[in-house]
Symmetry: C2
Subunit: 151 residues, 2 copies
């Protein structure tokens, strides 16, 4: 069940723009945005293909781009796709309390794990996010499998 908290459509749009940018670069089309106390502090998208960096999922790039933070207590992370165990573990470890997920249909991710650890998660079920992923999964199934650690 979705958690109730207020979030900004504009920040989800910014995450989707990041995902589309990734797709246009030939990369995995997952984008992310980080707000702290309602202010956008970081954007990022998956860079596995572009940088040869296996840990650069959309959420990770975004958190990296936002730089060092003393606390994530007032943070909301937006991501076009359900976070995998790496990204969910990062959210839990850094104490990011709220996550807005574009969709969890093309990849289920670790939503229950985050909720079990006290994170509030809302799944928007946005068709723009699903369209990005479906196009990529169809065209580059091997890169997608590699990105989520499936041999």
């Amino acid at each position: 069940m979705n958690s109730t908290f207020s979030w900004n459509e504009g920040s989800l749009d910014a995450a989707i723009d990041q995902g589309a940018k990734g797709l246009s670069e030939g990369g995995v089309p997952v984008g992310s945005a980080l707000e702290i106390a309602g202010v956008l502090v970081g954007l990022g998208h998956n860079r596995r293909v572009q940088d040869g960096d296996p840990i650069a999922h959309g959420e990770m790039s975004c958190i990296r781009n936002a730089g060092r933070q003393r606390s994530y207590r007032f943070a909301t992370l937006y991501t076009t796709l359900a976070p995998c165990a790496m990204c969910a573990g990062t959210i839990v470890q850094f104490g990011i309390p709220r996550v807005v997920v574009g969709e969890d249909e093309t990849f289920p991710g670790e939503i229950q794990f985050m909720r079990d650890r006290g994170v509030l998660v809302t799944v928007v079920d946005d068709p723009r996010c699903k369209n990005l992923m479906r196009a990529f999964q169809r065209e580059y199934p091997d890169v997608w499998a590699e990105d989520i650690g499936e041999s």
Copy 2:
């Protein structure tokens, strides 16, 4: 209880050298080494302070430095300190089946979570690893708290 699998003292030593390098740079002294089928393919240490990169824990830097891998099925990750939820989640997501942990006394990490997800984990309880961390935690308590997401 520790899992039984063979591992290389030399790779743990290499991880400890990485941790010591981090300390000498004024950074968080956690080092890591990645083997695939017994061959060392990557080394890394925490780079939060050096690069201003919050996701660059020792294990993450090491996996990044090893570059894209088609599979981690035959991998063993060595780390001087018990992996946090970010690093444990990465190990689980990428299917790294074996982890050698230098120590879990100065930070307990997410060893049970990894075991629950089928990862074989051995904790060595190496005094060199504990000495690295204790020196750092004493000298830079704020950076250490930030590194593990404690406000």
